[in-house]
């Protein structure tokens, strides 16, 4: 029989945990785990650090030695002396042209107001939380913006808006009979109204007229914004029609849409712009000649429409078959089922894709500089680089241009990611 063993000492409480080894704590641990966990990782870290060093050692002296106040590039070089730096005075001197083109100096408030209101108009489209009432302002916005940017009598946008209202009223009267009839009736009514109002505007003179600004004088980043916003807005309906056409069961309509979409997607935008610039005029009735900006808008809209059609087609394909069948079983006709059931869902799924196309399109508006329009890039490559004062200032102005685009595009792409997350939780 063994005597129960008695321990001399029994610990009743737990030892306080000793601090982790130095290599497993704080900054060092973080460094070890994140930056130097393996040989390969260490090499990568060192390479990355070198990259950052190389970038910063090039950029920082250039930035901090920069001259912000000078008359011309020669003045800049004199002020800098030995230290090479940027001549940021060029941005100071030319930012007006880069942003507004040759828009008259004293009425910058008009495009600026239009720009600010643009975000107000976009808010209800972009964010569900914004009161729905603002959507009325969104509808009103294009007319307001036109009046602000181009000027002229307020009658033109007002009558254009009224024409739309007349069209809508006729449409809502007739749509009960059939969608096609309502649609045609609406378009016809609006067209007649616009035709009649043409006489009013040509005779009524200047009611509430703002100073008119010729399209030619609109340039710089403002032109990129206008082209981007107008073309994306116009290409949405075109894209929807093309996407529906491509899904259609009618072979001829389907093939027309397929050929159009594949053709436009198969050629570079720049060739379409050449068409707008040098060929389109041949295909219009003799004597008609409308603005280059209008021709460019038509071409970019076609281009964007084809891409948006593909995005929406993806959305349509992603909808469960049951939705189509359910719509049919309710006895809805094609127009009704699309309008009330299919499209609202398909469009919602497609929003992130559409936003991506929109960002791409906005960036592509710089291509108009190739056909000698003075957008942001065009005005830099043309008058600014050619000017005697700022000859040789290259990085500074292109850096400024890149920054402007980055701010807008990065903002929109962050929005798109946010929206994707919102939609993702929605569908779970």
């Amino acid at each position: 029989m063994a005597e129960p063993r008695t321990a001399a000492f029994v610990r009743h409480d737990q030892l306080p945990p000793s601090p982790p080894p130095a290599a497993e704590t704080g900054v060092i641990k973080w460094l070890r785990e994140n930056l130097f966990s393996s040989v390969l990782n260490s090499v990568l870290t060192l390479a990355a650090l070198y990259c950052i060093y190389a970038l910063l050692s090039g950029f920082l002296p250039w930035f901090f030695n920069g001259v912000w106040d000078a008359e011309s590039v020669r003045d800049c070089n004199e002020q800098m002396g030995e230290n090479r730096g940027g001549c940021f005075a060029a941005i100071e001197a030319t930012w007006r042209q880069m942003v507004f083109g040759i828009y008259p100096n004293d009425i910058y408030w008009r495009p600026v107001t239009a720009f600010v209101l643009l975000w107000v108009a976009f808010a209800p489209v972009l964010f569900q939380a914004v009161p729905r009432k603002l959507l009325y302002f969104t509808l009103l916005y294009p007319f307001l913006a036109y009046w602000l940017v181009w000027g002229g009598t307020v009658l033109i946008p007002v009558l254009a808006l009224l024409g739309l209202v007349v069209g809508y009223v006729v449409y809502s009267r007739l749509v009960d009979q059939s969608f096609a009839m309502g649609f045609l009736g609406g378009v016809l009514a609006a067209a007649i109204f616009w035709w009649l109002s043409g006489f009013i505007t040509s005779n009524a003179g200047d009611v509430l007229a703002l100073r008119e600004v010729a399209t030619r004088n609109i340039g710089g980043f403002m032109l990129n914004m206008i082209l981007g916003v107008v073309c994306v807005s116009l290409s949405l309906p075109l894209g929807i029609v093309l996407a529906l056409g491509r899904q259609s069961s009618m072979p001829i309509i389907k093939w027309i849409c397929v050929i159009f979409i594949e053709f436009v997607r198969g050629v570079p935008l720049i060739t379409l712009l050449f068409v707008a610039n040098v060929v389109l005029a041949y295909f219009l009735p003799p004597g008609t000649n409308f603005d280059l900006i209008l021709r460019v808008i038509i071409m970019i809209t076609m281009f964007a429409g084809a891409y948006i059609a593909e995005v929406i087609r993806g959305g349509l394909a992603a909808l469960p078959r049951g939705q189509y069948e359910a719509a049919d079983s309710l006895g809805l006709d094609y127009a009704q089922s699309m309008r009330l059931i299919i499209l609202p869902q398909a469009l919602k799924i497609s929003i992130p894709g559409i936003v991506n196309v929109a960002v791409g399109l906005f960036k592509d508006t710089t291509l108009v500089s190739v056909i000698s329009m003075f957008d942001l890039v065009g005005i830099i490559r043309g008058p600014i680089l050619a000017s005697t004062e700022w000859n040789g200032v290259y990085w500074e102005v292109f850096g400024f241009a890149a920054c402007l685009f980055f701010i807008i595009c990065y903002g929109i792409s962050q929005y798109s990611q946010w929206l994707e997350r919102q939609l993702a939780t929605d569908r779970r």
């Binding site: 042209q97 030619r216 004597g287 008609t288 000649n289 490559r381 050619a386 005697t388 700022w390 000859n391």
Partner: protein
């Protein structure tokens, strides 16, 4: 969203475009402004002033003179900057009424492209510019050189011909705009920069150290530059042609922007001045304009000599001598047909 605006504009445009294309003058008076195609930026010839947002230059002055003659206002011009590529299509499609953009008058442009050159406002020729440090004294020494050219111009073809005829090799670097060609040349991406001699002088004047660059003596082509209009509307062509001639004749006759008011007030001794300024005869009516048309054109920027001196002459940084562009009475080629 803006579709309605487009439709509205389209309807208006369609209504307005009822007129036949042969009546450019009517289109211009209806519009109230002259659409004039100019270069996107060439020092001295067409330049957008950074402060005033106003176009200035030798070519621009021709546009203003025509606008003054037709519309009575030298400011009633919409300047449409066009690149080499689009200039002729812009003209043919009616986007611009006239092109004043140092464009060379050639057979194929006149006959095949159906353009109408209305005269010559600058006699030019293609030259070469090299850095003085290269020690080149003749274009024939340029074997193996890298040459910057602006694409879409006659320079490209002349260059190919010149090097082929002289059996020397070169490497062309085609560039879209004058500004970028200048950058490339200054940074040594090409050894030689070739364009019209006037353009070379204009470019050189804007270099940081103009003295470091020399223009070679060879002029390898004839480049008569002048304003042009579409084929087929002779009335409009006549107005542009004779506006240019009026500027040239005014210099020959000693009519300047300083004394024109006096000379135009009453008929003077010189019958040709009287006919030019409309104090005698009915030359303006023949053109479909009023009697004062030439007075307004000359007042817009002065006579040919004044325009030259102000924009590209020896007193300006560009510093071009009159040379071939002097009046025929001074040994140059400028020779306006008589106003009779």
């Amino acid at each position: 969203m803006k579709k309605t605006m487009m439709l509205g504009t389209l309807t208006v445009a369609a209504v307005a475009a009822g007129a036949a294309s042969a009546q450019t003058v009517n289109d211009i008076t209806d519009r109230g402004s002259l659409n004039c195609g100019v270069s996107t930026g060439l020092t001295g010839f067409a330049e957008l002033n950074q402060e005033t947002n106003r176009w200035e230059g030798f070519d621009v002055a021709v546009c203003r003179a025509v606008a003054a003659a037709v519309l009575g206002d030298p400011e009633a011009v919409t300047f449409v900057p066009v690149t080499n590529k689009v200039r002729f299509t812009a003209l043919n499609s009616g986007e611009i009424d006239m092109l004043a953009r140092n464009t060379t008058w050639t057979y194929s442009r006149d006959v095949d492209l159906k353009l109408e050159f209305t005269g010559i406002n600058y006699y030019d020729g293609q030259g070469f510019m090299v850095p003085a440090a290269l020690g080149v004294s003749s274009a024939k020494d340029l074997d193996g050189a890298t040459v910057c050219i602006q694409t879409g111009t006659t320079t490209e073809l002349n260059l190919a011909d010149f090097f082929r005829v002289n059996n020397i090799s070169y490497e062309p670097v085609p560039i879209e705009t004058a500004a970028e060609a200048k950058q490339q040349f200054l940074d040594g991406a090409c050894d030689v920069y070739t364009t019209d001699a006037s353009g070379l002088a204009a470019q050189r004047s804007s270099f940081p150290n103009p003295g470091d660059y020399v223009i070679l003596p060879e002029i390898i082509s004839k480049e008569p530059l002048g304003p042009l209009v579409r084929h087929g509307d002779n009335e409009w062509g006549d107005i542009v042609r004779w506006t240019l001639n009026a500027l040239i004749a005014a210099e020959e006759l000693g009519v300047t922007s300083a004394n024109i008011d006096d000379l135009a007030a009453a008929p003077g001794d010189n019958p040709e001045i009287n006919r030019l300024l409309g104090t005698e005869g009915g030359l303006g009516e023949m053109l479909g304009l009023d009697a004062d048309w030439a007075v307004r054109a000359i007042k817009a920027g002065g006579n040919y000599g004044e325009i030259f001196a102000q924009n590209i002459g020896e007193a300006t940084p560009i510093g071009l001598a009159r040379g071939l562009n002097a009046q025929w009475t001074n040994g140059g080629l400028l020779y306006s047909p008589p106003f009779r």
